[in-house]
Symmetry: C2
Subunit: 735 residues, 2 copies
């Protein structure tokens, strides 16, 4: 599945910039994650010939809510869309997974058996879930760049940009109910302010059994052919006044400006598809230095550490059903990350991207140096970027282990958050780190409360043990000194030292206790430090290194925000054409065609899977365990409005040449008329390195066919209420 | 790959029977391994419409050598064919593997690097290799059945049939130079005598490097898409008088009555293909009782024991290059067997054959019992067969472990052979067990001499250890008493007992010494027993159980030779149509069309692979290590007469709907004009259970395209001598 994008800790900087139009676009047919206001600049005649029945405004206009983009919802990690006038939202199963997990107990496991609210009163709250609806955007490049003082060094530059963005956001959000973001495009060539309505009462309406919504699980993940009914329904609620509100029984369904109609026309090979969504992160304009670091160090090390952490959590999950529920989400997330990283490595290697980037950069440098004016503007850019990456290698292993400690141990992460909170809150809002500004405190509070649902202390202990053992093995020039002082200085057997230390650590912490934890949420730093909690003490000991790293990263970010725009500018002048910026969790549009592919010699993948393929894969054992109700429905031969004529069966998933990445999960995929035909939920394995380089021959996005969603609603769940609410597109209800 | 069929130890009983013709054949389009004299009874009009340009006689006539069948060679486990007037034979790489292994040393490893004889004088002898050429066949059913006395019990029946067959064979071979076989068809409904010219000087002419001829190795084995250049060339030699002779420098190439022309026409989808070969064993007429035993006990236990034995041998091979060469063939053979058995289990399960056989048998029983005459003839058949299978289960685990001891330890097997030899040779020839009759002694002698090339004593020790530990774990009612007496009676730690026992055993045997071993070959039993060799002592201790099993098996075989023909007769009267007998290593004909398949939902396999697919798979690491010469040739863009027009590349392997099994390896596959277009070397994984049931949708045979063979001869090996000898079909030589 497309990984969800975590945006909380480091709110993404955001903008729109359109490179002055050259001749024909020099990107591949379906490559491109276009900014909304780039849509009018695409070749409309070509799009019309391919089947587009809409004007650009009918796609992108969010000002009056007439564009499709107004029906698109950002869930903070996933994309979704409105499909009824009453705020009904459709997205992926895995995007509704946290809501189902929150509402599950060992006795009543909604993940396993699925859930369908019998009526609106039984739709389940999911505290901490938000739905963001785009209200508008504007270019703020001048404002941002004007804030950088003449002659600022890289750290000053970083701080100036961060500071002005915080001010712009604060001003934007002053009226309440809005969530605003400033996003840097092309690494800082331009900056765009996005205004989103922030709906904070989002409820779970329907999630199919895991044997439908996650059919194939980690085995099929990223693979084609796929047979995953990866859908779920949520609903946005607002106060009786129509404005966003915290959860309350009295809230009413949100009435969106725009919702998507369900297509009843089916899907044909080679037909046009449209995609609107929030792709998270691509690295298409990165240099060979970044490719090398990723391919040779970061991904392989991630794969290794994730593999070990997953193994450890699985052992814990085997031991207790309660731990199994609590670890499920983390295991799923980490497995996905590991497979993704493996696919990246495989893809980078097989596409020889490093070599081709080096070749391209050598040619670019030649072109730059051929002209003294260009040499003066761009001559230092590539060497400087290279020097930055080289310097970062010095502590790469140490910093990776450090990051993994916080990434895997929830209690250490909480301790760190509480310490940071107490320190940051003492400052004026605009001087705080972005994650600790007032606007983000409710989310931090929810995160800390919600932790209870996913925290298993023995599992936490086990993964932290793993990472401390990793730390014990770091080379002499990359030690984490605080840990050496606490554990390894004596020179004893590291495993014994770690076990002794952890026994004391977990005996001396109360952070797993919700009341205790939340009592520190608003406490001043003296109280947090003075609590004597052993986990907080550990976080405190590690704080100087974390802060030093942060300072270094600010300098690097400042430098890159200076260099990357120059690099893209050089590239553009060299190549011409129209360029889209790398994905950065802002809304993008792209289009593609329905199409299979040939993964290797003599193997051809058809573009659509079918219900009989579900039966073919079903073993009764997870992850290939279709619920009984599905098996029975699949075996009835009742005439069906869901059948696809070309395969004479109910279609399940399909492929298109759409350019997508993590964050696009749940995105609506539409036909040329803007009607919903499917939900994007994955990319194919062969395309994983497309985050770095789009390969039009092999890159495909994987969608669940809306007809399969409705077949499930109708034949498996008898969800007449929802079918009616979406206008009964397949005319299956009695009237 | 199709496994080679071992026929030495238990010479197959053989015959021809054609069920009186009913209406249309009730078998699937390409199902059927037809006896040669059934060919005229096939639908000639249909075959002609599909592209057959030959009369039945042009295919099967062996009397005057004008039929294609006279060009087909049985290598004793593999099939091959003559492709020149000078006895040049083409077969699979893996069929020439033993000849290459015999001629290899650690310093000069022909398996690894391949071999091409520079001229005839340098073609390499391969003692023990035979080439059998079919000279004729005749029905001997009356003669065989007349030998069974009225009222004989099952054991007497077995002995009478075995006795008369031995006499028929002896008479047939009396003139010398012939190898004769009597084969039972349909389990004994009819018996056929086959006369084959026995050529015993067969030399290695050319075998490509393993990185071509076994490209993909065990990973790709049984898989499609395939990129295996699975070919090799041998040559048959005879004495200056044109008659078979032992190897001698003075021998001359054999001049076959018929050899195959190489096709230069290419291959088209859906075109007709003809197959002639020696399929080893199918079980298409077996009952549900046999399916159950195979699916639930035999295959799973085989898979487990083979897996452990392979692992053990691989560990030994890692330790020394000499062991690696000696174990290579056994590992390959066992890996193939294990994957085959796994495919069988998968196929039996997924096709639900057990349930469908049970349903069919219940219907058959209903039909039998609906008529008193039928009930009297056939009513007891199925229950009796069921009772036999049930009784056999009582000692199934014990007998499997016992068999595996002899199967894996070559020294124990040799000890047993020497004991048996000395005992059997004391009897008149016609009273001996078939494997020890005079006609088979030269082969036994060769086997024992040749052993030196594949015997690694530490490996032998290691696998026997494995099997003794298995024996220690047998349940109380299935113990091998001789081993309990020798090893486990004291009740100590079995592993320790086994190690102590084996240390003594291997210290006390000299059978690894060729001179010692061969000195016992002709020795009387008293000398063999009296040699005091510890391995012979172990074989002696196990002999009573082996003999008791043999007696039991004779009774079972006798009973089945009475029941199976009745069962097939009942089936035929019930169903009508024309039936082919199960495969039994006699020559068969079948036809099919060139065709890809759909292994699962949304996946389509194209029918042909290409040279660029070889490059795609090549990693430089075995088993994906193409030799440098191939890589260089593949990258040149020289115009090529080998290109296939539809893929604009050199074709490598292709698929057809041919019905084949182990023993068909190396079989010639011909176009409608009888020209050679490819060599069969494997079946697809999805078809492995086709030994039990032919599924026309999924069953495919895999061939190496003759154009790929010639591309290798021409561009990689520059084997102009061989190309010229085969008539330069692609006109690549300078004249």
């Amino acid at each position: 599945m497309r990984p969800a994008i975590c945006r909380l800790a480091a709110p993404v900087l955001i903008a729109v910039f359109v490179v002055a139009l050259g001749a024909a676009p020099n990107v591949g047919a379906d490559e491109g994650m276009w900014l909304l206001d780039q849509i009018p600049k695409l070749d409309q005649a070509k799009l019309k010939a391919e089947g587009l029945e809409l004007t650009p405004e009918q796609i992108w206009n969010t000002a009056d809510g007439t564009g499709l983009a107004s029906a698109v919802v950002w869930l903070g990690g996933c994309t979704a869309s409105f499909v009824s006038p009453d705020g009904l939202i459709v997205t992926n199963h895995h995007c509704a997974f946290p809501a189902a997990q929150y509402n599950s107990t060992p006795e009543n496991n909604l993940i396993d058996k699925g859930f369908l609210a019998s009526d609106r009163d039984h739709e389940l709250p999911s505290p901490g879930s938000h739905a963001y609806v785009l209200e508008g955007f504007e270019d703020v490049t001048q404002k941002v760049l004007a804030a950088v003082p003449e002659g600022a060094d890289d750290t000053a530059r970083f701080k100036a940009v961060e500071g002005v963005i915080k001010r712009i956001v604060k001003q934007c959000e002053a009226g309440g109910n809005l969530r605003c973001r400033v996003a840097a495009m092309w690494g800082g060539l331009s900056y765009v302010l996005y205004r989103q309505l922030d709906i904070r009462d989002v409820r779970l309406v329907h999630i199919p059994a895991e044997g439908i919504g996650n059919f194939g699980g980690d085995i099929d993940n990223w693979m084609w052919p796929r047979h995953d009914g990866d859908y779920a329904f949520l609903r946005a609620y607002v106060g009786p006044d129509g404005k966003p509100a915290d959860y309350s029984k009295n809230n009413v369904p949100f009435r969106p400006k725009r919702y998507l109609r369900i297509s009843d026309r089916g899907i044909a090979r080679d037909s046009l598809t449209l995609l609107l969504g929030y792709p998270g992160r691509t690295m298409r304009y990165r240099t060979s230095f970044a490719v090398q670091e990723a391919e040779e160090i970061r991904y392989p090390e991630n794969i290794r550490l994730l593999g070990e952490a997953i193994h450890t959590l699985e052992q814990q999950s085997k031991a207790s059903p309660a731990a199994a529920i609590k670890n499920a989400s983390a295991i799923k997330y980490m497995n996905n990350g590991m497979k993704n990283n493996q696919g990246m490595v495989d893809g980078l290697r097989s596409s020889h991207l490093l070599e081709s980037k080096r070749r391209d950069e050598a040619e670019l440098m030649k072109w730059i140096q051929a002209d003294p004016v260009r040499a003066a503007r761009f001559g230092r850019v590539l060497p400087e970027i290279g020097a930055i990456y080289k310097a970062e290698l010095a502590n790469a292993r140490r910093d990776l282990v450090l990051r993994f400690m916080y990434r895997t141990s929830r209690l250490l992460s909480v301790a760190n958050t509480l310490l940071k909170l107490s320190e940051q809150r003492a400052k004026p809002d605009l001087e705080r780190e972005p994650g600790y500004m007032e606007r983000n405190l409710p989310r931090q509070r929810h995160r800390l409360m919600r932790l209870q649902r996913s925290l298993d202390v023995p599992s936490d202990h086990a993964v932290l043990r793993l990472m401390l053992l990793e730390a014990s093995k770091l080379p002499a020039d990359q030690r984490i000194e605080a840990l050496d002082d606490l554990l390894f200085k004596a020179g004893g057997d590291p495993a014994k030292e770690v076990d002794t230390f952890l026994d004391t650590l977990y005996a001396g912490t109360r952070l797993q206790d919700e009341d205790f934890r939340m009592s520190l949420f608003d406490a001043p730093r003296a109280d947090v430090v003075g609590s004597g909690d052993s986990m907080i003490k550990l976080a405190l000991a590690l704080e100087p290194l974390r802060e030093a790293n942060r300072t270094r990263e600010q300098r690097v970010e400042g430098a890159l925000s200076r260099l990357r725009p120059l690099y893209v500018q050089a590239l553009h002048e060299y190549r011409g054409g129209i360029l889209y910026p790398d994905a950065n969790s802002t809304m993008r549009f792209n289009y593609g065609t329905v199409s299979g592919y040939q993964p290797r010699d003599a193997v051809r993948y058809f573009w659509m899977t079918s219900l009989h393929g579900v039966l073919e894969k079903d073993t009764g054992v997870p992850p290939f365990n279709s619920p009984q109700a599905l098996l029975e429905a699949a075996r009835t031969t009742e005439p069906s409005p869901y059948l696809d004529n070309s395969i004479k069966d109910v279609p399940v998933d399909f492929l298109a040449t759409l350019d997508s990445t993590g964050g696009n999960s749940g995105s609506p995929v539409m036909n040329g008329a803007g009607e919903l035909i499917g939900l994007l939920f994955d990319g194919n394995y062969e395309s994983m390195a497309s985050d770095w380089r789009f390969d039009p021959v092999l890159t495909r996005s994987i969608m669940v066919d809306i007809r399969y969603v409705f077949w499930n609603l109708d034949r498996v769940y008898h969800a007449d209420r929802l079918i009616r609410e979406m206008g009964d597109p397949f005319r299956t209800l009695q009237h």
